[in-house]
């Protein structure tokens, strides 16, 4: 991405990567990809590639961080040095620390933290390749990994972003659109409970545009949710079919 293209979206409403305004990037989800973790998931959202490992509930270390009335959820979001065009220093950056917090807070409402006091869950999000919208993809995968670890959940959390490029509100921005566009609105929801767990906005939108962006992102979330549920089911379905042959 050397120079800014004249237009991010053409007259027919087709974007730079050939998508329509309300079209998601291709999505692939897989559950149980890590043998050593208690739960794990892998997501490919467009060019994003993210792997998530979950450990716990287990004894908190260091012990003073444990809470007497609830379970502690810890989250680490990390981008691999090779995940972006220019080498990213492997040390946690300001942005990564913030995203770790944001992801944790998006996931926390879905977990029954009061069931296992004094224990802790660790969620490790490793971004192998980044192409915009990693926080949403990470939330989707992390929730799946937590479910795979057998931790009781209110609902799966699913994330998706919407934003504004040129003068149009569009769904699921990728890297170039995110950097050159006017605004980005990441949203995470628990679809069955109709609850929002993450809502951020970066850029400038009119109230009307903001509303369109949010409802667009929620629609996107619901589409991803179907794929997310299917990914969790598939793991057990395949075993069932094999056995019943």
């Amino acid at each position: 991405m050397s120079e800014k293209p004249e237009k991010l979206i053409d007259k027919k409403g087709i974007r730079l990567d050939g998508r329509k305004t309300d079209e998601l990037r291709p999505l692939k989800l897989e559950v149980g990809v890590l043998g050593n973790a208690d739960g794990s998931a892998y997501i490919e959202h467009g060019k994003n590639k993210i792997i998530v490992g979950v450990f716990g509930p287990r004894e908190m270390h260091p012990k003073h961080l444990s809470q007497n009335d609830r379970m502690v959820l810890r989250c680490r979001y990390h981008m691999a040095p090779f995940s972006v065009q220019e080498r990213k220093s492997p040390a946690p950056s300001r942005r990564e620390v913030e995203l770790s917090k944001v992801i944790r807070e998006a996931l926390e409402p879905s977990v029954f933290v009061d069931l296992y006091p004094r224990a802790g869950i660790d969620v490790f999000v490793e971004v192998l390749q980044a192409d915009g919208g990693t926080r949403c993809a990470a939330i989707t995968a992390a929730s799946l990994a937590i479910a795979d670890a057998g931790i009781p959940l209110r609902d799966l959390v699913v994330g998706c972003a919407a934003g504004k490029i040129d003068d149009t509100v569009v769904l699921d921005l990728y890297d170039a659109e995110d950097k050159l566009g006017a605004a980005d609105v990441p949203v995470a929801i628990m679809p069955n409970l109709n609850a929002v767990t993450l809502l951020q906005m970066d850029g400038i939108l009119t109230p009307a545009e903001f509303e369109t962006a949010v409802s667009m992102a929620v629609e996107g979330c619901k589409k991803i949710y179907a794929i997310q549920k299917e990914a969790l089911r598939t793991k057990y379905m395949t075993v069932k079919e094999e056995a019943e042959e």
Binding site: G150, I151, P152, L153, P191, N192, V239, E242, A243
Partner: protein, 236 residues
């Protein structure tokens, strides 16, 4: 007052299971008057109670459970034991020695050292305190021989089978002694390694296919086939 699932349907966390006049049972919860699933599993309704038989879960200590754990630390007056639960368990020295324990006379690491495996019973546990173990009953204590394997704790009932049918089949066919820790750790002790491996293979198959029907028959068949295969090899 409808339910939204078929018997033994695979459900995911957050899936709406029932509405209205129902009670949330295992692995499900109530919000308003709706019942949702908490874990991935198979939904089932019993009278007015909606249960989900979890396919993935971890062990939560319960008083009276027999568990298999690893000693991870030798302390001043007891041991810390990893029982594959959210909490580590404590085993007190006085319980093992069955006489008053004096730190001057007894060297605890000679009784049980870090890395030793024990079969123990949960003596007490509640939300505020870590579980306490006891080995003061026949059949409990340090494990000296056999092989250890892990299964998902929710699948232990499946390994036992209806009225112990599954486990007794495996015991009979392989001639192994099997101790099932409720925490998902299984101890298999046989006359030789081959017998143990056969039993472990059967248990692994049960774990992988626990949510399918007609499993006992398939396991019996598998064990018989494997046994005859091994006989043939011996005869050659």
């Amino acid at each position: 007052m409808p339910t939204y699932f078929e018997k033994k349907q695979l459900v995911t966390p957050g899936e709406l299971l029932a509405e209205g006049d129902y009670v949330a049972g295992e692995n499900s919860y109530m919000e308003g008057n709706k019942i949702y699933a908490q874990r991935i599993g198979l939904a089932d309704a019993e009278n007015k109670k909606v249960n989900v038989v979890a396919l993935r879960a971890f062990y939560v200590p319960k008083t009276g459970d027999i568990v298999i754990g690893t000693v991870i630390e030798v302390g001043f007056n007891g041991w810390t034991v990893d029982i594959k639960a959210p909490y580590t368990a404590l085993l007190r020295a006085s319980d093992v020695l069955s006489r008053p324990f004096k730190p001057q006379n007894d060297e605890l690491s000679q009784v049980l050292n870090a890395g030793d495996l024990i079969v123990a019973k949960i003596a007490s546990y509640d939300r505020a305190h870590d579980p306490q173990l006891t080995v003061g009953e026949p059949g409990l204590g340090k494990i000296t021989r056999g092989q250890i394997m892990r299964v998902t704790p929710t699948k232990i009932p499946r390994v036992i089978g209806k009225k112990g049918s599954m486990i007794s089949t495996i015991k009979q066919e392989t001639g192994c002694q099997i101790i099932l820790g409720v925490n998902g750790v299984v101890l298999v002790t046989g006359k030789n390694v081959e017998d143990e491996e056969l039993a472990m293979m059967a248990i692994q198959k049960i774990e992988a296919e626990s949510h399918t029907s007609g499993l006992t028959d398939r396991i019996t068949q598998l064990l018989k086939e494997e046994k005859s295969k091994r006989e043939e090899k011996k005869n050659e």
